[in-house]
């Protein structure tokens, strides 16, 4: 990129000859290349300021002991060593794994079925249904959604238990038992992300040539068989994508558990990000939190890669078409 910048002094020898080129042609080159550079510059500046710099800073911090104020003392690998014995941090990882099992399989299946239904000729008002299903995604980031769930799920005064009572079911300790709290959190997250995943599946479905289902139908396959043997296998890359996002999403949950359960009861719904945040801003153990962030990052990368390797087989059909 330095080639294109007239004022840059840090040109590598390989590109230095440009400087000897005619003044006009160089200007033209600079203009031609400089403009796009200027247009993409905001991203790179923001990225450097708000992503690259914090990333480097957090790595630097992870080897230090710092309480936001005063000097950051070098302590080598002590933070990382302490982390391996921090049961609360590993509990938060385990919570995410459990939470993942609670809602992701169900959500993925539901998203798939809904996408197929909304893609079929039989359902009317498709736009309306899609919008309705997608709406929670827009609202979910808001504090209001979590508070609404909290009000609904209150054991004594919530609508969920009032409704169950109306049906003759005894009240459920939605937020007051470790497992129910995980289920409640899963419900909130599923409600929020179902529409998004449905949309991904829908896009994948629309990329599948209709003649394949047609051919299967001619061969005598029923709708369920077509779904299981044609649609789902062809949709595999899209499903892998959606589940990968869900893994990352589940392990980076923050707002929802903070507001719905505050990580409780008995740490059953605390998440790594909640731990990182709490250690930084409540306990002022900034270096420790930085180390936590890096371990957490490593775990997510490993999980996502494992899932990718396990689930994504080469697609024979697409392979053949190439």
């Amino acid at each position: 990129m330095a080639v294109l910048d007239q004022s840059s002094d840090s040109m590598s020898p390989a590109v230095r000859p440009t400087r000897t080129a005619g003044r006009l042609s160089l200007r033209r080159r600079a203009t031609r290349a400089g403009w796009p550079l200027l247009f993409v510059a905001p991203f790179f500046v923001l990225f450097a300021l708000f992503s690259l710099y914090p990333l480097g800073f957090s790595l630097w911090l992870s080897f230090r002991d710092w309480s936001l104020n005063g000097p950051a003392r070098w302590i080598g690998l002590a933070n990382y060593r302490a982390l391996f014995h921090d049961s609360l941090f590993w509990q938060s990882m385990l919570n995410c794994a459990l939470l993942f099992l609670v809602y992701v399989p169900l959500m993925t299946l539901l998203a798939l079925v809904l996408a197929v239904l909304l893609n079929s000729r039989y359902v009317r008002l498709q736009g309306l249904w899609r919008t309705l299903l997608f709406l929670p995604y827009i609202m979910s980031g808001t504090v209001a959604a979590a508070f609404t769930f909290q009000l609904m799920l209150d054991r004594n005064a919530g609508y969920a238990n009032k409704f169950l009572g109306f049906l003759g079911v005894s009240p459920v300790p939605w937020l007051d038992s470790t497992w129910w709290a995980r289920i409640s959190l899963g419900l909130l997250v599923m409600w929020a992300w179902l529409g998004y995943n449905m949309l991904i599946m829908l896009a994948g479905l629309q990329a599948i040539p209709p003649e394949l289902a047609e051919a299967a139908r001619v061969d005598g396959a029923g709708p369920i068989r077509i779904f299981a043997r044609v649609t789902v296998p062809l949709l595999r890359p899209v499903i892998v994508f959606s589940v990968t996002l869900s893994i990352i999403g589940t392990f980076s949950l923050f707002t929802e558990p903070l507001l719905l359960t505050n990580g409780g009861p008995a740490n059953a719904t605390t998440t790594p990000v909640l731990q990182i945040w709490q250690n930084t801003f409540s306990f002022l153990r900034v270096g420790y939190s930085a180390a936590m962030s890096w371990i957490y990052f490593a775990v997510i990368v490993v999980l996502a890669l494992t899932q990718y390797v396990l689930v994504s087989r080469r697609d024979r059909y697409l392979e053949a078409r190439r």
């Binding site: 203009t31 004594n156 937020l175 038992s177 009861p265 008995a266």
Partner: protein, 430 residues
Amino acid sequence: MDGRHMLRRFGGRSAAAVAFVVALVVATGAGAAHRSTTLTIWCWTPTDDALKSADAGFTKAHPDISLNYVQIKPADVYQKLQLGAAAGSGFPDVSCLEDSHLAQFTKLGILADITKQAAPYKKQIQAYKWTQETVNGHIYAFPWDAGPMALFYRRSVFKQAHIQPTSIHTWNDFYKAGLKLKKLGIPIWLQSKAQNDARFFEDLLWQQGLGYVNAKGDVVLDKSPKILSTLEFMGKMWNAGLFGDLAEWTDPWYKAINDGKVATLPMAAWMGTFLKSWLAPKTSGDWGVVPLPSWTPHGAQTANDGGSSLAIMKSSSNAAAAWQYVQWHLGRADVQAHTYQQTDLFPSLESAWRSPYMRQPDPYYGGQKDRLLFEQLARKIPVAHVYSSDYEQMDSLMSAELQKYALGKETAQQALKNAANAIRSRTGRS
């Protein structure tokens, strides 16, 4: 210069332009200096009401100082102060701080040293407060209210259950009263199992001169038979179904207090301001106050819960005016007696206790002279080590173990052992 030419030049200097933008972004982060003697004060309700009730006199005496109150709830005050510490700016001149969190901020080094100015007040204010404001002999905050604890009881409920409030001397009496109240379907006190915040547990420890740590700062949670029996007492209350399972400071909790669905509130003097102002103003006259039940027949009949202080920020460019403000609001007996009357924030300034107001009957407590009782109790608050620079972390770790114990997932011994070990490994204490 035609447009094209200018644009071309600009394109060639995109790097310079970008650098300029970066400089701008960075520059806006730098703090704007105070220009006049306007003091910015961070506080929450009801501390802002209390402070404001003394402002008329202050403004008369110091017409050159104007006051700018920013109402922020405690948790947000702490968050903002921490972020300010990291950024090196964004502080008020004066901030209200709860005693529980004070040590964290003195350790952070953002509070102004007021040792010299506060020295004349040393003998006029309760000794236990000074230990919380002092680090290595330096004073970093000015003591405000104390949190002497008592047993607030609902008169009508006690009458219905035929319980004499004065008959509750010990926590065992409290347990027995709870059994009687259970027959009426009214819990004697509310303690959430799944959302317990360990605050009541801490109060019970404080009453016995105990805490998370000892005077040296070493963790003692798992080393004291008294702490174990305290936790087991809470377990006994839960098992007998005497505690209502409601989380504090939530709507169902407010409703229970309003509706007479809880018989007592073992809480601090400051609870009065919440009850009277918005929590349960309609129950006026139906409450009474007796000393806290003790652990042994002649043991301490009170503990401390909370309490707060005013701190001047080291960064304040109006330190002199800020000190005038603090001195006026917290250092004058007449002002402190007045704010106590306004908001039930019990003054730790002992000279304020001589006010005739202390002897007036309080209609909210059925005409009882509760302030005299709080004065007696405040004199006997035991010295304990519940609060420290790691308090928030200790409280958080203990809460989780307390929840596990309450939900029957571990024994009291395990809960204390786990909490103590977690605190040791996380805070580096022995």
